[in-house]
């Protein structure tokens, strides 16, 4: 099952007042997500991601830096290069054109991964609880 990684709606970058200064796919000295190359149906050569693998780092104009994590185990198929040339996409269309990456989990893990995710409803409940506890 193909997975598209996007910013969650409650992410600070998507709150009003934030402007994106830059986006970088250079995770470390040796690793750039831009260098990811896959070939064939089985996507050989892909960088393998674990839940905590960083996808990119985003700097906002107010000096904050955010690391976006994969959150899913699987092969990295592609990262969205459009947001490099047009960072506003990320904020204006975070769930469509502003996606971060596409990941393909292992076939055997597909079901367990899906079960580990929250539904839209469950996510909204989490947000509600968060707001209630903070207020």
């Amino acid at each position: 099952r193909i997975c598209v990684i996007t910013l969650a709606e409650a992410h600070p970058l998507l709150q009003s007042g934030k402007t994106i200064k830059s986006i970088s796919y250079q995770i470390s000295a040796n690793c750039s997500r831009l260098q990811n190359k896959v070939s064939g149906k089985s996507k050989r050569g892909a960088q393998f991601l674990t839940e905590l693998a960083p996808l990119c780092r985003i700097s906002s104009s107010d000096g904050e830096e955010y690391t976006i994590y994969s959150c899913i185990r699987g092969r990295l198929i592609e990262v969205n290069e459009n947001i490099l040339s047009n960072p506003s996409l990320l904020q204006q269309k975070p769930s469509t054109e502003g996606y971060i990456a596409v990941v393909l989990p292992k076939f055997e893990e597909s079901k367990s991964i899906t079960q580990g995710l929250l539904t839209q409803k469950e996510y909204e409940e989490v947000l509600l609880k968060r707001r209630n506890s903070s207020s």
Binding site: R1, G40, K41, I77, N80, L89, T96, E97, V102
Partner: protein, 532 residues
Amino acid sequence: MSSLTEKDRPVVQLLLNTGTCPRCILRFCCVGSQVLYRHPCEDLMKELQEFLKNNQEKEDTVCLDGVDPPCKRIRLEHTEGPDDLNHNGVFQQIPSVNDGNAAMDSSAGKVCNVCLGILQECCEADFVKKVCQKVNSADYQFTSFVFSVSLPPQLSVRERAAWLGVKQEMRNLGLSLAKDDIVQLKEAYKWIIHPQLSEELGVPADGKSLFEVSVVFAHPETDEECHFLATACPDCFKPAKNKQSVFTRMAVIKALEKIKEEDFLKHFPCPPSRPKNLCDALEIQCNNGAVFVAGRYNKYSRNLPQTPWIIDGERKLESSVEELISEHLMAEFKADSFNFSSSGREDVDVRTLGNGRPFAIELVNPRRIRFTAEEMKRLQQAINNSSDKIQVRDLQLVTRSAIGRMKEGEEEKTKTYSALIWTDRAIQREDIAFLDDIKELKLDQKTPLRVLHRRPLAVRCRIIHTMRSEYIDEHHFRLHLKTQAGTYIKEFVHGDFGRTKPNIGSLLNRTADILELDVESVDVDWPPTLDN
């Protein structure tokens, strides 16, 4: 026997004494007259005996004339004794000339040591009847037949052994071999059995026939005779996963070509031993060559996959295009199985309108093969009556080469579509009018996310040749497009997360999505249109 000459006498004598049947003897003497082989075995045996008698009488008279080389030979052989090895170090049954008659009697009625019965009972009337019974009960429609026979590999080994024995005998007698183009066992077998099969079945034998009758012979008693070749020529025998035995005919023949005479004679008795049993006919099978039916189909359902949709053994959607079409064909043609292919496909939720999409079905091993145009029309009607989800037209029999033309269409020809499009922000007629003027629009389409799990990641350049819009309301319009083969229409409309550029959304500066898609035409002019 006029086909045999003086030079053949020692060969005939030797083979007869060692248990070879008359027909194999004829083969080893390179007798090429097909008719001769069809004589009954008993008659051939008598003729060979006659042939030898003439020889013997001559020898006897020569002997009476005093000390002569032939007599000396007889005496020498007697002193050597039957179990002695000759100077080549090989086991040899010494043919005793005077014992001629006794040896011939012991051969008569026994299984041949070279053909293991293939040229004996396995081509006689009873066997022919058995084969024809099988053919007739299988209920095939055919106008000719090709008869294919699979012989156990040890026959090649025995043939080689017998031939080496003949060569040796000739060397011992100081004679040179006049000919060495022995008649092949399979060929002689077909000479004998084809006319009989032809007569019983009432149709001619034809090498190009699509109807194949195949018989597999086995001789388990001697199966291990090939094994010595594996130690002598190990590289000829590689275990193949599909085959049960490593000792295939091809491998054995290869090894026999490689092995040296001396090595062969070390491991295999020459002449070959006399078997107890005949070959068995393991399998008698019939097979008809595949038949191809082509046509064009329309799909009127938005809930029908092209091929059965089964995940983990569970069927996700009822039926499929291919099943609805092939069900009737399978029943009429009485085939074992089918292979469905078409010039491209459409999604489950997409209709195929207009002239329909070309398809072809290969019917494997059909029992019935002849259908008139009338019968095809009725078949087409039956399919169309059975379902309102699909309809077929131009149903006809085609050749295998026709499939190539159909697949051409998949990649080269254009298609036209009609899409029902929704937009988030309102549109007015003026907003979409410009689409009609866009010609040869180049798209870059990354592999759509919805198929990315089973296709390689790539970028496809595709062309939208023309478009025509029909305004419906502030959030809907219909778009007719003519595109290059292989264009993903849905992705062109919604943009696929921006991975198809340009797209309707980007052209209209809105978010667009596709509600309905129909294929209006598949621009391939095959199969030929019939007046339906």
